[in-house]
């Protein structure tokens, strides 16, 4: 192996290993599917009941966990050298904005539901912040895009007022947008990971 190849290999191996947890993108797909189902159902059959949303959310979390175990089994585990603070904070920021949007939108559902949603989302955001480096890699781009979509949604909802009909359609649109972003980013990251691993191997035997 010539030196130039070795240097390229050094860069690739370092880069892939460092960002490996964020490469495991299929874990984003169940979350994206949740938003797609909730957003897609609203204009067709009306808003999805809270109980059905809760069941879907539990199923999505179970699917994320199953995919996480599948990744461990098929692609192995890398424990990062240090906490990915910038990524974690970006994730938290995205969730913070989501909480804001939910609190604005949830005016249609009343104060109690809003409070419960806020508590659940805050707990979730905190759990994700601590779990992110080891388990949920998340995709930085996906998180940034979701945060942008949710922020845009919050601004539009604020501008248009809390008319329930308008809120349902806007909510559905932004839910679909988030779903598409999460699914697309998840699949793209997974394919990038497979390509990167395929190209990084030394291929040399003993």
């Amino acid at each position: 192996m010539v030196k130039a190849e070795r240097n390229a290999m050094n860069r690739d191996l370092r880069h892939i290993t460092q960002i490996f947890p964020t490469f495991l993108g299929l874990r984003l797909v169940p979350a994206g599917a949740f938003f797609l189902i909730v957003g897609g159902a609203s204009p067709l059959v009306g808003p999805v009941p809270t109980a059905a949303q809760a069941v879907l959310a539990v199923l999505a979390v179970a699917a994320i966990w199953w995919i996480h175990l599948w990744y461990r089994r098929e692609f192995g585990v890398v424990e990062p050298a240090r906490l990915g603070w910038s990524r974690s904070w970006m994730f938290l920021l995205g969730l913070g904005v989501a909480v804001l949007a939910m609190s604005l939108g949830a005016r249609s559902f009343g104060g109690t539901t809003t409070l419960v949603l806020l508590v659940v989302l805050t707990l979730f955001a905190t759990a994700v912040l601590y779990a992110l480096p080891r388990t949920l890699g998340g995709g930085t781009m996906a998180v940034a895009l979701v945060a942008a979509v949710v922020l845009l949604g919050a601004i539009v909802i604020m501008a248009m007022g809390s008319d329930p009909l308008r809120f349902n359609y806007l909510g559905a649109f932004f839910s679909l947008a988030i779903g598409v972003v999460l699914c697309a980013a998840g699949v793209a990251e997974h394919l990038s990971m497979k390509q990167a691993l395929h190209g990084a191997g030394t291929g040399d035997d003993v």
């Binding site: 192996m1 030196k3 070795r6 240097n7 290999m9 050094n10 191996l13 370092r14 892939i16 290993t17 460092q18 490996f20 461990r72 089994r73 098929e74 692609f75 192995g76 585990v77 890398v78 424990e79 990062p80 050298a81 691993l197 990084a200 191997g201 030394t202 291929g203 040399d204 035997d205 003993v206």
Partner: protein, 109 residues
């Protein structure tokens, strides 16, 4: 130029072998990685990777932790302090060699 060749021949062969260098380089940027990840990363067969890891462990460059996750065995690997120093030194030496070879003019020999 003979100095460069001396340096080249003086490289640590335990580290310099491509598969082992790949393993060490990957481990140098994380706290731990498991056998399956290194298998995917290097594209080696299980037997070959296992042989390389045994050599690295015997040389004191990596630490191998075997445990069970549920019912399945799991092998985690981490660089030792000696291993980290060795891989950093090795890449530094390769960089120096590259710099030296750039200045080399064969007509002057």
């Amino acid at each position: 130029m003979s100095e460069v060749f001396e340096k080249l021949s003086g490289l640590d062969r335990l580290v310099h072998e491509p598969a082992r260098l790949a393993v060490l380089t990957a481990l140098s940027v994380c706290r731990k990685a498991d056998f399956m990840y290194l298998l995917r990363l290097t594209g080696l067969t299980k037997g070959n990777l296992s042989t390389h890891l045994t050599k690295l462990e015997a040389g004191g460059l990596i630490r191998i932790e075997k445990k069970f996750v549920g019912r399945k065995p799991n092998t985690m690997l981490a660089l030792t302090r000696k291993g980290r120093t060795a891989v950093e030194k090795h890449w530094r030496e390769l960089d120096e060699l590259r710099a030296s070879s750039r200045d080399w003019d064969p007509t002057e020999e």
